[in-house]
């Protein structure tokens, strides 16, 4: 038609594009080759900078070339005058910025910038902060840039208050920003140092309340945004418990001393040394873990030399000093007694509320109230449900037990993908509650039957338990940590789906083991039981292995000391 522009057809365009691309590829490949050749030949000069910048300008993720550049720059540092170097660095900074514009999430580029700035005698940190601000303006969730910003802020000693204000501004713009919330969690303890707090210190209540309000606004606005919930959890979470010796147990007839710690550790390695004093004189002993593997563990034990337990004296005092943990514990074994112990009570120390903090319960109560309000509006929000459960546990695990179980049911229904995780969490909570109840009752008998447990945990807390009932659960194994139950005499684990018995080993006091209706397949899995010297009764009825031909003979051979084996 008249007056119309004549335009190349699409085939012509495509062909032109193809040729262009081919040309580009050729250039790229030849430049790469040239760089590698020069590097091999050790010709680290400015021409390498030029060549690599051609490639990196188009593809900043070529890590080897950044290495190459660093080598060249290091070489040139020695050769050039300060003025020449200054202009070289300036050019490098500009080049890096252009690469970041190509890919603002290039690991290599950000790392190179860190490296370069770290080498400068007088880096211009203000400019770097501005660069970060600009990149975060474009993408406020660019965690590479956040990383770099933290690096710069540390190097330039930017006051935490300023950085906090910066996170404020970004959260205001878009609160689903993990990096920004996380940065807050680093800055706030710095801004409000508390005298008696660990590295992850707590915040003063006024600050905490302000943060809670902020984060509440976020999860009420969008309850499906995880970032706010994670921050909420951090706010209510507490520091790692202080290192402590939780329990010390001495058994006279086994001539054995057992300790459990607040965290797993590897005794004997480097700094983790234990000092054992028997009647105020040091005793040299060999420490080992109950399962004999000597890996980091909550529980360690040692054999006591015969002399230290002589029945002649009215009492023996044992003291264990954990130097690195700055903790010790002492117990006295009186004449005529078979055992002695000293331990921290789980009830006093609220050991099991560690998911959320020991903050004033008023704070937790008000958080619980608002979460329940949110839950009414959003009955299917998993984050809200989970937070309610955690808050209830932090407030009073036993009081809220029933309610918690109901919330678990709802949560499992709305989040079936994480059903197994939730089952384990629920098991953990129920086990904790049972331990609390046992301690309140001041007994050494733990009933965990009919609790729908899927896993066992906190076994290091059960050092003193003599009777344990795990029947009618969904357990699939008795885990190695069970070996920590040094006083266990009777173990019932009927009606589970147990396939392995790794944990039933080296239990010095175990007399009865009841395992009917489980999934034990072969006699071989019972091998570990042989290491329990006092085991006399074993119930294996209803297990697949009972179908094996000649099973009784086989078992009698495998476990000669066990008097009665029911199959």
């Amino acid at each position: 038609m008249h007056g119309r522009l004549k335009v190349k057809t699409s085939e012509e365009q495509a062909e032109a594009k193809r040729l262009e691309r081919e040309q580009k590829l050729k250039l790229y490949q030849s430049a790469t080759q040239a760089v590698f050749q020069k590097r091999q030949a050790g010709e680290l000069d400015e021409s390498v900078l030029e060549l690599t910048s051609q490639i990196l300008g188009a593809n900043p993720d070529f890590a080897t070339l950044w290495n190459c550049r660093r080598e060249v720059l290091q070489q040139l540092e020695a050769q050039k005058s300060p003025e020449e170097l200054a202009s070289l660095v300036k050019a490098e900074l500009v080049f890096l910025e252009s690469c970041l514009r190509v890919n603002p999430k290039s690991y290599g580029t950000w790392h190179h910038r860190c490296w370069l700035l770290g080498r400068l005698p007088e880096p211009n940190w203000a400019r770097e902060l501005e660069l970060c601000a600009r990149f975060l303006e474009v993408d406020e969730r660019n965690f590479h840039c956040w990383d770099y910003r933290r690096f710069v802020a540390t190097q330039a000693a930017v006051p935490p208050a300023e950085e906090l204000a910066f996170t404020d501004s970004l959260i205001t713009r878009n609160f689903s920003n993990y990096s920004s919330w996380h940065y807050r969690s680093c800055l706030l303890p710095q801004l409000h140092p508390q005298p008696d707090s660990g590295p992850q210190g707590r915040l003063p209540e006024s600050v905490l309340l302000k943060e809670l309000e902020l984060v509440q606004n976020a999860f009420f606005t969008d309850p499906n945004d995880q970032s706010a919930w994670f921050y909420h959890r951090w706010l209510l979470g507490r520091a790692d418990p202080q290192d402590a010796l939780r329990c010390l147990h001495v058994s006279r007839d086994e001539a054995c001393l057992t300790i459990s710690f607040s965290r797993p550790l590897l005794v004997g390695s480097g700094t983790e040394t234990l000092l054992l004093m028997a009647d105020e004189s040091p005793l040299v002993v060999e420490w080992r873990t109950p399962d004999g593997r000597n890996r980091p563990s909550h529980v360690w034990l040692c054999d006591l030399p015969a002399g230290s337990l002589s029945d002649q004296l009215p009492q023996h005092t044992f003291r264990v000093i954990w130097t690195a943990g700055d903790a010790q514990k002492e117990c006295v074994l009186f004449k005529g007694r078979q055992e002695a112990w000293c331990r921290d009570s789980a009830t006093d120390e609220q050991l099991f509320r560690c998911e959320l903090s020991v903050e004033k319960s008023t704070v937790l109560q008000s958080e619980l109230k608002s979460c329940k309000e949110l839950q009414e509006l959003e009955p299917e929000n998993k984050w809200c449900l989970l937070t309610i459960i955690l808050l209830m546990r932090a407030l009073d695990p036993l009081l809220y037990e029933k309610e918690t179980l109901q919330y678990f049911q709802t949560l499992k229904a709305v989040d079936p993908m994480r059903a197994a995780y939730l089952d384990d969490l629920r098991s953990k909570f129920l086990l904790e509650n049972s331990v609390l109840k046992m301690e309140y009752a001041e007994v050494r008998v733990l009933h965990l039957a009919h609790k729908d447990l899927t896993m066992l945990c906190h076994l290091e807390q059960l050092l003193l338990v003599t009777h344990l009932d795990l029947s009618h659960n969904r357990l699939r194994a008795l885990p190695p940590a069970l070996a920590a139950l040094r006083c266990l005499m009777v173990l019932q684990a009927n009606d589970n789906s147990i396939k392995s018995l790794d944990g039933v080993a080296n239990l010095p006091q175990l007399r009865e083991l009841s395992l009917y209706n489980n999934c034990l397949q072969q006699a071989a899995v019972l091998q570990s039981l042989a290491s329990c010297p006092r085991l006399v009764f074993l119930d294996l009825q209803g297990n697949p292995l009972c179908q094996e031909a000649g099973i009784s003979e086989h078992l009698a051979k495998l476990l000669p000391s066990v008097n009665s084996i029911l199959t």
Partner: protein
């Protein structure tokens, strides 16, 4: 010069409003020979924007009831025996009830200056002071976006026309075409400059006071829209601007806040996720309920089973009744109804309300935290952008060029030509005429509605925050059941529509009575006249009005073509501005009309990449000589460099 116009076109477009301009651009883009004329001296018709002095002359024109129409009958001689003439109107009857109020202090010698400004128009007002010339924004944007078009325009302007209020003249001055100033004007400038410096010192004494003289003096800072509209960021116009690449000719700013007026208080409406999060007035529960409802609105169509099940029963009730069932506090109901859906309390159905809400939310976040954009330098920029595109592809422009009549062939009943003010007969195949150009005879049967408009210049924002540069939209629902909601748009100086330290406030509603009767109650609720400021400190919170203008504008939208008497089939009608907030109506009209003329053509496709243009010596030469248009290939490479920038400012 006029006789140099070619006498053959494919399309003649009469009127340079937005729909006409889009239509002209589309035709020109697809290769039609387009003649685009406007009897006025400025672009845009009722879509135009004026500097302050420009607006004063515009007012004067209507107040004086300009009947200086010289009836010439030369055209009658040109009508052949087998032809008929449809006479076009020479008088614009679309503006009525113009009323002006000045509250800013005007002492005697300032008065003199003002009258001077009125008589001589902007020329005396535009004291070319240094700040203005130094403003890089002012210079560059105007230069870039308009000057090529101007050269086109001036070529066809009658040489003896005194440079009137047209915005492009301002531009010419800014770009340094001082020759248009006569000597005595320059001397006047000198004196006004002297005066103004004297005033400045007194001004500093009376802090916060803005005198009328200052408004006059800085009159060119103003770009006052006759129609007050915004662009929905996912509306048809934005899509078209992007698709056609016309966006490169304009710059936009995001509206920064949505306001509501409730129980005598102006407050910000939280509409985006960030707004809701940051709002300090809502409780967390309200935040959740609002977010929940808004999320529902976003998706209400996507789950048809759910939504039918959920509110089938509500199909018969109004949106406001529906909101009451939605667990929203009265506060939130009000926000949603009036500020987000912007629907009427009594009349709009649930579905309409949900649709409007969804549309609002859909537009959120594309360019910012509100769904609206405003073109820098005013709404009047938009028709000009499309005119420019039309010109780039060979369209010919004549302002101050009226058409006396359409010539209709008796036998075929089709229009075949127009006769212009110089009696030149220009043939064409298609004719697009904007409603206001038709004579009373042609539209004797048409029932027009009216739009009530008010323009205020105020000294502060209706809602003060830490940033002065806010662009706000506020909907005030009608008080009586029969009155209409009033839309208030407040523009700050960074929109390049008013001088620093002032705000330009547009009020719009469908007319019930005269503009002043319709709008004054709302004005009184939100503002106080400037003079009351002497009563110290009482209600200082309210912005004070420095200057106010009321007028009614004809709303010719939604008029069926059949209502016009005896229109030949190849004469198309398009309407003036409608009362709505968006510009969809204009785009729809232009596209529909374009499809009628060019049924199989793409509507405003993107211009080709300059590298892909095949240069054919012969044809480009012959084209150039034939139409004397700017050859497209000379224009495109230059534009290409702008793409990045304009995209950035737009996205």
């Amino acid at each position: 010069m006029a006789d140099s116009l070619p006498s053959e076109f494919d399309v003649i477009v009469i009127g340079t409003g937005l729909p006409e301009s889009i239509f002209a651009a589309a035709c020109s883009r697809s290769g039609q020979r387009v003649l685009h004329v406007d009897s006025r001296s400025y672009y845009g018709g009722n879509w135009a924007s004026f500097s302050f002095s420009g607006l004063l002359s515009w007012i004067k024109e209507y107040q004086e009831n300009n009947d200086i129409v010289i009836e010439s009958s030369i055209w009658k001689e040109q009508i052949l025996e087998n032809e008929e003439a449809i006479v076009l109107s020479r008088k614009n009857r679309t503006i009525q009830n113009v009323e002006v109020f000045c509250y800013a202090s005007q002492n005697l010698h300032e008065d003199i200056e003002e009258t001077g400004a009125l008589q001589k128009n902007h020329a005396s007002v535009t004291s070319a002071n240094s700040t203005e010339a130094a403003d890089p924004n002012c210079l560059s944007t105007e230069e870039v976006s308009l000057s090529p078009l101007n050269s086109e325009v001036t070529a066809y302007q009658t040489p003896n026309s005194d440079t009137e209020v047209a915005p492009e003249v301002n531009d010419a001055e800014v770009t340094g075409k001082k020759e248009s100033h006569s000597d005595d004007k320059t001397s006047e400038e000198e004196t006004s400059k002297n005066k103004s410096t004297a005033e400045d010192s007194t001004e500093q004494l009376k802090k916060n006071r803005i005198a009328y003289s200052q408004i006059i003096k800085e009159g060119r800072r103003f770009n006052i829209d006759l129609v007050s509209k915004l662009l929905y960021s996912r509306g048809l116009l934005i899509d078209l601007l992007i698709k056609s690449n016309v966006s490169r000719y304009a710059e936009f700013k995001n509206i920064t806040r949505i306001l509501s007026f409730r129980e005598g208080r102006v407050e910000q409406v939280p509409c985006s996720r960030a707004d809701v999060f940051n709002n300090r007035h809502l409780t967390v529960i309200e935040k959740r309920m609002l977010m929940k409802f808004l999320t529902f609105c976003m998706e209400y169509e996507e789950h048809p089973d759910e939504y039918k099940g959920e509110y089938k029963a509500y199909e018969t009730i109004t949106f406001s009744e529906f909101l009451k069932t939605q667990k929203l506090t009265p506060n939130l109901q009000y926000f949603v109804l009036h500020s987000i859906a912007m629907t009427s309390e009594t009349t709009s159905s649930t579905i309409d309300g949900l649709k409007a809400t969804k549309n609002f939310l859909h537009c959120l976040g594309r360019y910012g935290n509100t769904p609206f954009l405003f073109p820098l330098y005013g709404q009047g920029e938009l028709p000009q952008c499309f005119c420019r595109m039309c010109a780039v592809f060979g369209g010919i422009y004549c302002l101050r060029h009226s058409i006396q009549c359409l010539v209709v062939d008796k036998e075929s009943g089709k229009c075949k030509a127009v006769i212009d003010q110089f009696g030149q007969r220009i043939n064409s195949k298609h004719f697009l005429v904007e409603d206001s150009y038709f004579s009373e005879n042609t539209c004797s049967l048409v029932q027009y509605r009216q739009i009530s408009r008010a323009v205020l210049i105020t000294d502060r924002s209706v809602l003060k925050t830490n940033s002065e540069q806010q662009i706000s939209i506020l909907t005030v629902p009608g008080e009586e059941p029969e009155t209409f909601a009033v839309r208030v748009i407040e523009l700050c100086s960074s929109t390049m529509t008013c001088m620093k330290g002032t705000y330009l406030v547009h009020l719009t509603c469908t007319s019930f009575k005269t503009a002043r009767e319709d709008l004054e109650p709302v004005v009184q609720k939100l503002f106080i006249p400037y003079t009351e400021m002497e009563i110290e400190n009482e209600e200082v919170e309210k912005p004070r009005i420095l200057w106010a203008l009321y007028f009614n504008m004809r709303d010719s939208s939604k008029v069926s073509r059949n209502c016009y008497n005896d229109l030949p089939p190849n004469v198309y009608v398009c309407s003036g501005p409608d009362c709505g907030l968006g510009n969809d109506n204009a785009v729809k009209q232009a596209e529909t009309l374009f499809q009628q003329i060019c049924p199989n053509e793409d509507f405003c496709p993107p211009p080709p990449n300059p590298e892909d243009i095949v240069l054919d010596e012969e044809s480009s030469q012959s084209e150039a000589s034939e139409s004397s248009a700017i050859p497209p290939n000379s224009e495109t490479p230059k534009e290409n460099t702008n793409i990045g920038n304009s995209e950035e400012s737009c996205e």
